[in-house]
Amino acid sequence: MQPKPLILKILDVVSIIVLAVAAYLALVFAPTEAVMGQVQRVFYFHIGTAWVGLLGFVIAAVAGILYLVTKDVRWDRFEVAAVEVSTVFFFITIVLGSIWARPAWNTWWTWDPRLTTAAITELIYIDYFMLRQGIEDPEKRARFGAVYTLLGGISAPITFMVIRLFRTIHPVVIGSQSAAAQGGFSMTSDMKVAFFFGLFAFTVIFIDLMWHRIRLGNLEDKVEQLKLKVSM
């Protein structure tokens, strides 16, 4: 077994530190929002996890295409790692959003385009694992997985566009129509510090977890090969 690389060890420590700092910035440093109060602080982690969640899905689709082109199994491991880590982060995003929505919208859940798209996207990537589980041949599993991430990655934005035709109440904090939506607000400079640091922190944590998952994928592969050898 390969020893853990030094950079990864450092990255582990850095991840813990930036998470602690991000928590401090979000919970203590950032000023309390005037209308929503303390619950708005959930926002910093909500955006952070959503960002890495979506980033991972895009990475997975790209890795899927690269796998189909090169047939290099490393891209497959990369893709699995991205989807797996992102699925968890995206789930956290949905839960944090619900926690915020309860006081802000007076409901845990509403069928807003963003929420609905988020739920469907999460389901697509849970399906991805169900699909992989049903295939024994590793090469075929990788091919089908790559095709499905590609389909999912393209269908999710179209879903969003379609549902937007129905209705929306989700606030858009970044962009032009900031405070117009229900629960929207504009950020002060201290809030921006917490916000951007949150994005940075989760990006670091995401890279760290992906790296671990890729290493785990390599080990899984080795175990599978050893098993084959023993059974022969």
Binding site: I120, V147, L165
Partner: protein, 248 residues
Amino acid sequence: MMDKKTATIDSRPETMNRPSSIVHRPSFVKATLAIVQKDLSAEFRSFELISAMLVFSLLVIIIFNFALELDVKVRQSVTSGVLWATFAFAGTLGLNRSMSVEKDRGCMDGLLLAPVDRSVIYFGKAISNLIFMLIVEAIVLPVYSLLYNVNLFRLDLLGVILLGSIGYAAVGTLLSTMSAQTRTREVLLPILLFPVAMPVLLASVKASGGLLAGVELSEVLMPINLLIVYDVIFIAIAFMVFDFVVEE
């Protein structure tokens, strides 16, 4: 085994440029139509797929009738939703069946051995799946019109239904080819298909709901445009990746 391998290699695009005296390659359209014809004549001999889809559709409508209490007032707002849910459920039934038939009797290997491009198989299967869906829809629509005294035979509405069915069959054919090769097979198809086909279903419901409510065509142009965009994108993707899905 050896024969099969050589034949498969022969059918790959690399050997396309051989003189026609050695490998006779039918044209793309002709080969596609041959697969469609094969599916249709097999179906019209037994009617097992269409009849199953049809009976299932009617049962779904009956369930909706009681689940939603489809009285005159409710009906106006939910007709398009009921119709599309019915088409989607019946569609998965047909997609599953049409692909597992190929898989069970080893017909898929036969198709793969044919000296044609792999995408021919995709388009052939997709078109026959689409035809089955359209036949079922063509029977369900008048029955629904009759049962609920609402006129569903309008050119714009039929256009939306056609566009929606094209998108659904395009993605469904690709995914059913995949799910037929997994351990869980029939169970997996709707799970894989519904989230990916969500834009088709939602845009179709939105467009046909608007048309049934009597709004101007220009007001539902947006969902119709999205339907067309989805159809074009997903047919193109399926065309590109189908090779990877049937590779052995």
